[in-house]
Amino acid sequence: MSIKIDVSLLSHQYTKGQQVVEVNGSTVGQCLDHLVKQFPSIAPCLFDKDGKLHSDIDIYANGKSTYPEELAKLVKDGDELHITFLIGGG
């Protein structure tokens, strides 16, 4: 299944400017694993040492939050994921 992940907020640090990455997977977790395979340096930015998604990350699927399923959330062909980070500066 082809899923698009919008990694715009990470593109200048981790994906050589590529804002959208095509991945395969049936769940959000599988899609992120495929993203990491293509861009290994992105892994610490997404996951902790135990492979758990960092708590300040929100994944949106087709514009809607995947919480509380997050990594277990099922996705289908053509879905679009966005990775965002909690920020608090002002």
Partner: protein
């Protein structure tokens, strides 16, 4: 009733269809509380004062430091070492002496937040940390007062408008999570963009025109110059707002 001076001063915005003299009178009667006189608080307060919002209370406990000046445009080199509240009051009064402005140099805490926001129609979240944002959110929900959220990091920013009882609140979306308390990177134009979005929302809410940024989290990506919107919804188990029955 607007004075002749006010009609002249605000002529160009009174010309906007849907705003008019009636909208300007609403702005004049409005009382807006601004939490923070820093990167976000600077553009928010300057544009609301310039637009003729009648009463502003701005709160910030910090003093001006040199490293603030890349973004906190209310404060200048000559203000280094001064209390931000004093510096802000001086500039905002000069910008528009018609506006009643009060600047308070206090830390917003659980103990004083209700007292600080009492009597104000709207609350603008221009803070630099999430714990205080949650205090403001809770106070806004408890008082049924609209809250205008903004946050920045680097070239990235976000904004959302909260109408308690009707739309998702900050706790619904962020679920009490916090970020490490540390010096964060930021370029001045980012809070300028987000602060102006917050001010736009405040003006629209007061005047009663347009579509508010409710149940939508807007994310600004300055490096790629993209705005992306995400749908958010009220959490029926939200610790802050679930007690308020949805009016939608």
């Amino acid at each position: 009733m607007l004075t002749r001076d006010e009609l002249e001063r605000y002529e160009r915005q009174i010309m906007i269809k849907g705003l008019g003299e009636a909208g300007q009178e609403k702005l004049k009667r409005a009382k807006v509380f601004i939490a923070g006189a820093g990167g976000l608080g600077s553009p928010v307060s300057m544009y609301l004062v310039a637009a003729g919002v009648g009463t502003i209370r701005i709160v910030d406990h910090d003093r001006v430091e040199s490293s603030n000046l890349n973004r906190q445009v209310l404060h200048w080199d000559e203000d280094i070492g001064k209390r931000k509240a004093d510096s802000a009051l001086e500039k905002l009064r000069k910008l528009n002496p018609r506006v009643e402005i009060e600047a308070i140099a206090e830390t917003i805490t659980e103990a004083n937040v209700a007292q600080l926001v009492a009597g104000f129609d709207l609350i603008v979240d221009a803070m630099d940390n999430l714990p205080t944002r949650y205090l403001l959110n809770k106070a806004a929900v408890e008082r049924n007062t609209p809250l205008f959220h903004g946050a920045v990091y680097g070239f990235e920013g976000r904004a959302m408008t909260i109408i308690p009882g009707k739309t998702a609140c900050l706790e619904c979306v962020y679920r009490g999570r916090i970020t490490p308390k540390e010096k964060f990177p930021v370029i001045g134009v980012t809070p300028a963009v987000i602060g102006c979005i917050q001010s736009t929302e405040v003006i629209k809410y007061i005047v009663g025109i347009g579509e508010l940024l409710t149940n939508r989290l807007l994310i600004y990506d300055g490096l790629n110059l993209k705005f992306t919107e995400f749908k958010v919804k009220k959490d029926p188990n939200c610790e802050h707002c679930s007690r308020l029955a949805s009016k939608e």
